[in-house]
Symmetry: C2
Subunit: 219 residues, 2 copies
DNA sequence: TTATATATTTAAGTTCGCTTAAATTTATAA
DNA sequence: TTATAAATTTAAGCGAACTTAAATATATAA
């Protein structure tokens, strides 16, 4: 397969599987920002080519081959992100969009050389794990969304969702980066927002944002 | 413009302009390995979009904008080649095909950062000059094809055509690399081939190959 | 259970970049 | 100059990846 669209479909499917390992066309369409009709169309092709299990009106599953392909795309994407951030000094809120293009234009050979050059990084600049050549993903620390914390919990930021538009640049603005310590001061009942301390400053973040920042509880 | 094909057309046009600054559709088609009809089609679009001057049955010229765009593509291409060869250690006969894809997927920002990281290289791994941000190309040494040399001339390899299939890997096999010294022993009248010394070994290369290796005469 | 809302598929149509075949123009050679 | 060859354009058509609108199936709520 040598195709930008199909590769983005597979990645989007893999990233958004539910607990049952499925995804609905409607969600996929919204993640890819295209029409439902286009998704139906493409699902037939991906199914014909053996990358997804698809039956009309049923949830979409990846085949073994499809899952491997998707994980390899994540590998390419994340290794490029590390390179752009770490080697070229590009800010973490810009690397995703660039990697979104580069991932389709680089042979496995380039990716393997890059990985070696970068000394085998384990996570991308947003804290997501990098699959190895065989699609194996190291099981990472147990993390929870900030929304799961309780009052007075102290936690360390491990991962921030890199798939949400403008989230990273906003999060940067309020002082959050990987490894940063936060302390939950208050959880507001009526809107689910969270009041917390970052660098000795009080910051209130909405429930929506809190649900996309993943942390490791300290003690 | 955000298009692989159009970008490759512009680059191919620029690289193959004749002394009059023009190229014929037929040559362009063969360089791009597509039909003449496809070229006619695309020329209308490139003309409509202001990148080429085109009138039916006349030679194709680049507009100012078209030339700038083409040179920027060469810049991207060659900077990627330097990175792949120099930083990742990919052999010089493999980097061209990879760069052919990467050139379309990288913002000017990435290219500028890469250029800085590489410490502003002046030529790509095949000896071709790298245009700067403004499209300026440093005028390089005066070179001649090996076919232009005379018996007993000594010369240094400065540039090898990177656009000819399998040329680089062949040339590598017979011991030629950038900077290598050669001595012309004999020029065969009947087929234009050249007999020369490389590393104290006698090597005969065809006229076609000799015409794609560029050297600087020594003394 | 039935009405209504939502999700999904089907149908028809568009743009892009290509193809082959036929028509036409330009170049070359007798 | 004229016949022939070569280059170029035109015409028709294809697959990929989209779109919008309409039809149909499924989910949800009264
Ligand atoms: Mn992508
Ligand atoms: Mn990421
Ligand atoms: Mn290219
Ligand atoms: Mn080159």
């Amino acid at each position: 397969m040598d195709n930008v669209s199909q590769e983005d479909y597979l990645t989007a499917i893999y990233r958004n599987l539910d607990e049952a390992g499925e995804i609905k066309p409607n969600l996929l369409a919204s993640k890819l920002e295209i029409s439902n009709a286009a998704v139906t169309d493409m699902l037939r092709k991906l199914s014909r080519d053996g990358f997804v299990d698809y039956q009309k009106y049923k949830g979409i599953k990846l085949t073994g081959e499809g899952e491997l392909y998707a994980k390899n795309m994540l590998r390419r994407h994340r290794i490029w992100e590390v390179f752009l951030h770490q080697t070229l000094g590009m800010p973490w809120d810009k690397v995703h969009d660039e990697a979104e293009k580069l991932e389709h234009s680089s042979s496995d050979e380039i990716i393997n050389l890059l990985e070696e050059f970068l000394e085998y990084p384990e996570v991308d600049p947003h804290g997501y794990p990098i699959p190895d050549k065989n699609g194996k993903i190291k099981k990472s620390k147990t993390v929870v969304a900030i929304t799961e914390l309780n009052e007075n919990d102290t936690a360390k930021v491990i991962r921030v969702n890199d798939d949400v538009k403008n989230l990273l640049s906003y999060v940067t603005k309020i002082g959050i980066s990987l490894g940063k310590e936060i302390i939950v001061k208050d959880k507001l009942e009526y809107d689910g927002s969270v009041l917390m301390m970052i660098d000795r400053k009080e910051v209130n973040i909405s429930n929506k944002i809190a649900s996309n920042i993943f942390v490791e509880k300290i003690k």
